[in-house]
Symmetry: C2
Subunit: 170 residues, 2 copies
Amino acid sequence: MAKIATVITDMFEDVEYTDPAKAFKEAGHEITTIEMEAGKSVTGKQGDATVSIDKGIDEVNPSDFDALFIPGGFSPDGLRADDRLVNFAKHFMDEKKPVFAICHGPQLLITAKTLEGRKATGFKSIQVDMEYAGATVEDKEVVVCQDQLVTSRQPDDIPAFIEQSLKLIK
Amino acid sequence: MAKIATVITDMFEDVEYTDPAKAFKEAGHEITTIEMEAGKSVTGKQGDATVSIDKGIDEVNPSDFDALFIPGGFSPDGLRADDRLVNFAKHFMDEKKPVFAICHGPQLLITAKTLEGRKATGFKSIQVDMEYAGATVEDKEVVVCQDQLVTSRQPDDIPAFIEQSLKLIK
């Protein structure tokens, strides 16, 4: 069983949280939702999903988690405006723990300056940002880099994203 | 009188469109709102402002405009997923016409690969993206580069943004 830190705030892409989170839980893993503040709820951009935040960023230590999940939408851009969230994400990349980022999720990894030399994908609008940040971007449904970083582009890619993510947290 | 192309879609930061647009019009300039499609309205992320789109991107030629205005919010990220909008913005940068970009506005200029060697600012969350794209980022309310590119960070900076923008379209 893996402890998966999930960083999320308002305007996340609803199914990019709900579908992977359901699959991870069904596989026996534990999801902890983390935002700037604990005790609140955040809402997806489609208005379909509301997520209760388990922990505020000041209450958690990245060393206590085995993997990081970053759902997309406009949530990652909100998170990366806070240096604490950027540093939290950087830990997982530096320690080579599994990181699962979909759609705009890689934005947080760019701001953490952790994509240099990595192979990855992301939503179309951020692909040039990712290239500038030193990543080799592949326009594929899922890209797995060094058995550690799993990235996908958009909601259509969710099944492949889940499949490859689960392989890294057996 | 300058003809100012304004590229905008849903989820723009309301006052980052309304305040500069009002000031530009009061100074005698003409604003043309441009989106992927004509004949629709787009809504700000605060829900305070709705903007009628004057022209679809396929109906306009960038040569017919004197300047480009890119309001912030999540609008620029929506626009830059469409290559036609990216190419439209590139024209103004390549031709050294005045470009006014606030908050997330510079995202469109990153995707157009036009920030290399430029001095600029932007919303905190995109500053690392801008640096990776080759810009020298200054954390100031307004940055004017080569009497052509005016950038600001956030709504608080709007008065300085308007003042410097107007100087370039006397």
